[in-house]
Symmetry: D2
Subunit: 343 residues, 4 copies
């Protein structure tokens, strides 16, 4: 069977992980990655011996690559021509310009959460609306927080029916290695409702969602608390049982030593996961409590890697190699070797 040919535009925090994720999919071929400058990510690629071919998104910095001896395989346009699908993880706004190239060559593309919804035909989540993405030309993935949040809400919704969610997002403010957007000794609040609540409603229009987002000065994982109101009362046991069966949810306990977001990062490093990444969201068993007819719980979102599986699902949707969310997510989970999937 012919493999799906995939390219990655934008080799940053997300782009690197998308490239690695595609490499794991036995039914896909990573054609190459593109970036604009010899960033640290590109320097690391070079030091590793160029496991991926590198294309140049913009010509003007070519000299910098040459000066460092970094081989360049062509332009972004060259890359696009060789691909069936481009994963566009360039900084917000750049994707819109790149889209013209994708359209020119009739190549499909999947954009990340930083772009505006208008860029794509479908705003996509691998579990919650897979079928909408079938055969589409342009998808936009939900952002990291929304991706993880929807996994948990969709999980409850399938089993019990959810009417309403009120979320509090305790947002990590920067990725490890960021220097340009930190916060020092301050919690910063956004105007409510948070865009994640609005995004959830776009994907799952039958649910009423609202929420408040607070930025916090940490780098390893957002924590979201969710108050979810079901069509009928959901008990703690029911919620735990549903969550436990979800392949992309890892149940953890404070009493086991998972004291917070930093434990999950450390654990992923100790597991030997590349970059210390984790694809699963975590839900703390000890956080689940009932309140009236609602259920409340806390999720950990590993912001650097959480969108990778749903993006792989997206490739399957636009290429129509799998017709249902179940088939697509099973395949993605298997190739990504998500541990809970093996259970």
């Amino acid at each position: 069977m012919k493999k799906i040919r995939v390219g990655v535009a934008g080799y940053g925090v997300i782009g690197q992980r998308l490239a690695d994720g595609v490499k794991c999919q036995k039914d896909m071929e990573l054609v190459g990655v593109a970036d604009v400058a010899p960033t640290l990510a590109v320097q690391a690629l070079f030091e590793k011996g160029m496991p991926y071919d590198l294309y140049l998104a913009a010509d003007f910095k070519k000299d910098e690559f040459i000066a460092r001896g970094i081989p360049v395989s062509g332009t972004l346009e060259d890359l696009v021509k060789k691909c069936d699908v481009i994963l566009d993880s360039t900084p917000g706004g750049v994707g819109l310009k790149n889209k013209e190239i994708y359209q020119k060559y009739g190549v499909k593309a999947i954009f990340q959460g930083g772009e505006k919804n208008e860029i794509a035909d479908v705003f996509f989540h691998g579990y919650a609306n897979y079928e909408k993405g079938l055969g589409a030309d342009f998808l936009k993935l939900t952002s990291c927080n929304t991706t993880g949040l929807i996994r948990a809400v969709d999980c409850l919704d399938r089993e019990f029916g959810i009417d309403r969610v009120a979320i509090t997002i305790i947002r990590r403010v920067a990725d490890p290695g960021d220097y340009h957007r930190g916060l020092t000794n301050a919690l910063q609040i956004d105007k409510a409702p948070s865009h994640q609540a609005l995004d959830l409603m776009t994907i799952m229009p039958h649910i009423e969602a609202t929420g408040i987002l607070v930025h916090t000065p940490v780098t390893h994982g957002h924590i979201i608390t969710v108050v979810a109101t079901g069509k009928k009362k959901i008990t703690k046991e029911q919620a735990l049982s549903a969550f436990s069966k979800h392949p992309r949810i890892r149940m953890v306990k404070i009493s086991d030593g998972f004291l917070g977001n930093a434990s999950l990062f450390r654990y992923a490093r100790d597991l030997g996961n590349p970059r210390g990444d984790m694809y699963e969201i975590a839900i703390w068993e000890d956080s689940v409590v009932e309140t009236g007819d609602s259920i409340m719980f806390a999720i950990n979102i590993p912001q650097e890697a959480v969108v990778i599986p749903e993006t792989m699902d997206g490739i399957r949707a636009v290429m129509q190699t799998e017709k249902t969310s179940k088939e697509a997510t099973d395949k993605t989970n298997g190739y990504l070797n998500i541990p809970s999937w093996k259970k």
Copy 2:
């Protein structure tokens, strides 16, 4: 009229502010403060010229005071004998030992949130259950988070009737100047439900409360999000109107520049408030959103000073100088010159 004679045991973060708070009450007299060692707080008292008399809670460090030339007016027992009420803000557990001294001399005492509830006859909040404290010998104040939370919930409860609250506490992990209990680049989660939710139910037993607490590495103010479910639907406008009238709630806007907890601390410093303290909780107007029949909003809790007004109310309750919450809190607010009170 004879002034209420008040002493403060434990001259730390809270004790210093209690002493300053009593100084502002024209119907009270600050007899003195007691501590065990020449801490920085005591050194500052000394550098200021000893505006308060200092008593020694334990004898064994007397030499250290003498060596520094800090005058000591006697023992804790000497202080107790001269007082009608002791405000005990010693570290958790010490209050229980001190209680024996208070009982020996028939002196009333008000303990802070660090002590166990059993230490006191009444677990007290100046607005929510003032009447229960009338004439009691021993009160225990709610902790900083619970004190501020109850202000907001009681405010809505009086006006609309509240059935249920689900809270997310984004807790500052240390006070400015703490070195022994910080957190670095980590969010830490506590087993749910949080004690603040349980405490709220103790004070307001007609409300069902639950919640999740997450520790964050900042020092200036907790942020709590509240999902409050009324007996009937509460609109955003109704909630804003109720909050705006509360003397110990300050309404703020992100669009005015109140971007987070650090803005409130900076603003209080710029107001010229002693120590940059603020007695009011703040609620962000831009955070208030409706969700089904519930209302959701975010509160800022200035952890160092928020309990001072309710403690002053407590003195009035145990001494029965004011018979109602309205009379007591009005008097406290006036003497503390709480700005919103003047409106």
Copy 3:
């Protein structure tokens, strides 16, 4: 005697403190302050009842002031006309434009460290080169780190003669209340030599200085380590003795509880200093060590307030009311009530 009429342009972190500092000088009159928008600082000024007259640096936001009921006394130009000296603490670059107004009306001005050196006739420090500022039209103050560093180096230089300093600046990355320039879980290094070392050499050209600056995610006070090489060996005792006599240096001990920069901020708050500010740099006695012929020690720089005294000195220099550094700094220290000065 006629008082020196002083205005402040830019009512931010430094501007507010300059205004307060001028208010303390019995030989000066604060004519007013100017700013461009109803910032939190201006809102606090309004809530305090407008102790200072407010002028509008730019007309375009006047409506915002009117909408809030904040009285405006005129334009920056109106303010300038009424003053002998303007303290310009506007953001970097703005001072250069304002200078045209100052020149137009023949009014002297003192710029803060954010401006380029070229803006002024003299790059100024109240102790190290006071005489150079006598009668000048335009001074530029050293930045907070350089101001504090020079106090300590000048102190040793006067007594022992200093040939060389190598400094390590552990820089706090943001002021309390900043949200736009934090750093999260990262130390960031600048290209060496640091500008503070170069600035020191501009003010004290007989000393060879170099240094490395590392940004750290904290808000309360830079810490600088200094390796100072004297013309002859300086012993620990000699250094301690010299530092102890300096009015703007506060000697502190770890063993007293001054564990770091946060202790000094907390102590200043507990002293009741407005905004928790401290004018003195602190030097830890326990940090002073000898190395070969050099002496090494650590300084704490309270970044928000440290330049206020030297700016007051600058006013005296340009107005020539005091002819020597000794007379000027004594007067400033006295009016600012710097505690160590009273010793």
Copy 4:
């Protein structure tokens, strides 16, 4: 040739990395690791399928292992009996008790920096005093900061002769995943001279060293500035040339994007290094400056992994398989695949 049989006691941050490091040495065999409780590190080992045998250092928690289904291969004593050398990375103080077991079975041991010097015959560094460790029964490794610092100082000392160093240690306060020893918005200073300076003098007694240590609230890498005074003047070019040739020093540039300690951690993750670890210290080219006869520069110490190579060297020393530092460190570097070694 018979492989050296190595066991690891204490499977924490360092212990895990020692085990991984031994696994890389083709002339060594990892017999197993021992710990006292099913920590997250042990849970990760189990989730990975037990690549190492696990022994139980203390019996009392055996039930907890059984309950989780984690296989236990015996007691610490069982492990010791099978080994030639034990790497003891238990918490400070535990090593002293364990030493009795090692002595009982005549097994050599290498302790980490947390133990007191008295525990070992030799205080050891693979480059600076390898020969002292030859055939010893008990070594103690220098701590992470001292290990990295000595690499750089020894490098200069061999080439130019060093008389004196004055260091400023900007210490990360916690490891990623620590919750018990953080610091929030505070720099904390230790009494000078720092123990690292004293330790350097123990290993390199011909050098006079002193220094100041400041704790900072970050988790990824200490930064040390060094003022090193040579027997004769060392130029910037000379220093850069010497550093560049050292296998365990990685030269980096701010202008390449290595803005601070977090860049190095991110880069190591992007390289695909297990756990995002780096064995090399980094020195910023842009930090190197001359001052008089001295040279000043800044080092990054990756605290979790830096001691692994020198510990491998230590095994070679006590087993006398390599007679010189050159032979031992070359072998270690090769097996650890340290990139700069390949140059």
